[in-house]
């Protein structure tokens, strides 16, 4: 083949070959770009859908909770308060003891011990009553707020009279100071959680006396004592 013929052949094939190269480059770069963009968008949609689902769950949980939330949180905060609950517990046990005719004395409050994000204190006291009344009294403590758990019971009898040495433990803990961000997911209470909430909200709160403020009256002699 002559040189002229070779040049002529190459000239004839040049345009289609360049076309194929350009098309291939466009397909490769454009395709890669489009593919990456589509994958990125799909990933973003998946993440956004997960977030939306978590938010919807949170909204459902909060909407359901809001129907009884104020009352529930108030009762739970009384049952498990933020400050030392020993005074309220002593008040409750004295009230319960006097109602049932049990003599409760020698009340001693121990030192608060911090453990696992809460503080507990042991309250030791003595009781004087017959067996049945003492047991009824001790069982009544399970029904009053602030929450407490019996730790030790020893009852000695002389005739029908029993002298009990009781150790009762009560708990408190600081309140949470932060609420999770709006977008943060929350899960509903489990069955076990609900049982605990039911137990806490069923406790009888300590009686508080609300003193009505005095209405302002006329002071006839502001300088008199």
């Amino acid at each position: 083949m002559k040189t002229n013929e070779i040049i002529q052949t190459l000239r004839t094939l040049l345009v289609p070959i360049v076309g194929i190269v350009v098309l291939g480059a466009i397909t490769f770069f454009g395709g890669t770009f489009m593919y990456n963009k589509i994958v990125e968008l799909r990933d973003q949609i998946t993440v956004a859908r997960d977030e939306e689902s978590a938010l919807r769950t949170k909204l459902d949980v909060l909407t359901k909770f809001s129907l009884q939330g104020a009352d529930m949180s108030r009762k739970v905060a009384i049952a498990f308060p933020e400050n030392n609950s020993s005074l309220a517990v002593i008040s409750q046990l004295r009230l319960s003891a006097s109602t049932l005719g049990v003599s409760a004395d020698q009340i001693k409050v121990g030192k608060g011990i911090a453990e696992d994000n809460l503080v507990y204190v042991d309250i030791d006291f003595s009781t004087h009553a017959d067996m049945a009344t003492t047991l009824t009294f001790l069982e009544s403590l399970k029904k009053v707020a602030p929450l407490g758990l019996l730790r030790g019971v020893k009852i000695s009898f002389v005739g029908a009279d029993g002298e009990g040495v009781i150790t009762y433990r009560t708990y408190w803990s600081a309140l949470p100071t932060e609420v999770a961000p709006v977008g943060a997911a929350i899960s509903d209470f489990s069955e076990e959680d609900r049982k605990i909430i039911q137990q806490l909200t069923a406790l009888i709160p300590p009686e508080t006396v609300n003193v009505a403020p005095n209405t302002p009256g006329e002071n006839l002699n502001p300088f008199g004592l």
């Binding site: 345009v15 799909r42 949609i45």
Partner: protein
């Protein structure tokens, strides 16, 4: 029969096979270009659809966030209840002496009325009581009640004695399952 003639000078004539190849490539090129354009338009459409879908999901999430923000007080109360429950759970779910008291009450109710209880000691894992019995049959009844109760894993006879005035005395200690 027709004869094809080529009037171009020989040096300007392309090789006939190259010319055919060029035409074939050009045709393929056109077809590929059309396919590429169609794919490009389809991909663009799909991207537009995905973008709209993403915006719709985001708008929905934003609307829900607004509703959650409006439920701020409920969220605070929920956080408080969750905090209290989580902190108490390890303590409240444990066995307690209060539970043991219920067992004690049920057990004593089954004892013969002539049994005299001198001392009772209860904690979350054990029940212990010291008793007096004037008749050995009463004591046997107590032992049989305690040993047949499936709530105890162990029953120990800690002390046993006899006194002519008080009768039999025994101290029993049970480990609660």
């Amino acid at each position: 029969m027709k004869n094809r003639i080529n009037l171009l000078p020989t040096d300007l004539r392309g090789a006939s096979s190259a010319s055919k190849l060029s035409k074939t490539i050009s045709k393929i090129l056109v077809i590929l270009t059309v396919i590429l354009i169609v794919l490009g338009v389809a991909s663009g459409g799909y991207m537009f659809f995905l973008t709209k879908q993403f915006e719709a999901v985001q708008a929905n999430a934003s609307e829900i966030t607004g509703k959650i923000t409006a439920l701020g007080p409920a969220e605070q109360q929920f956080t408080l209840v969750r905090d209290r429950v989580d902190k108490l759970k390890p303590f409240i779910t444990k066995k307690s002496t209060g539970d043991s008291l219920g067992l004690l009450k049920d057990l004593i109710a089954q004892f013969p009325t002539t049994i005299k209880i001198n001392e009772v000691q209860v904690d979350e894992n054990h029940l212990e009581f010291a008793i007096n019995a004037t008749a050995s049959s009463d004591l046997v009844s107590v032992f049989s009640t305690v040993s047949s109760d499936e709530l105890f894993s162990d029953v120990f006879l800690e002390n046993f004695g006899y006194n002519a005035t008080l009768g039999y005395s025994a101290t029993l200690k049970m480990t609660i399952k």
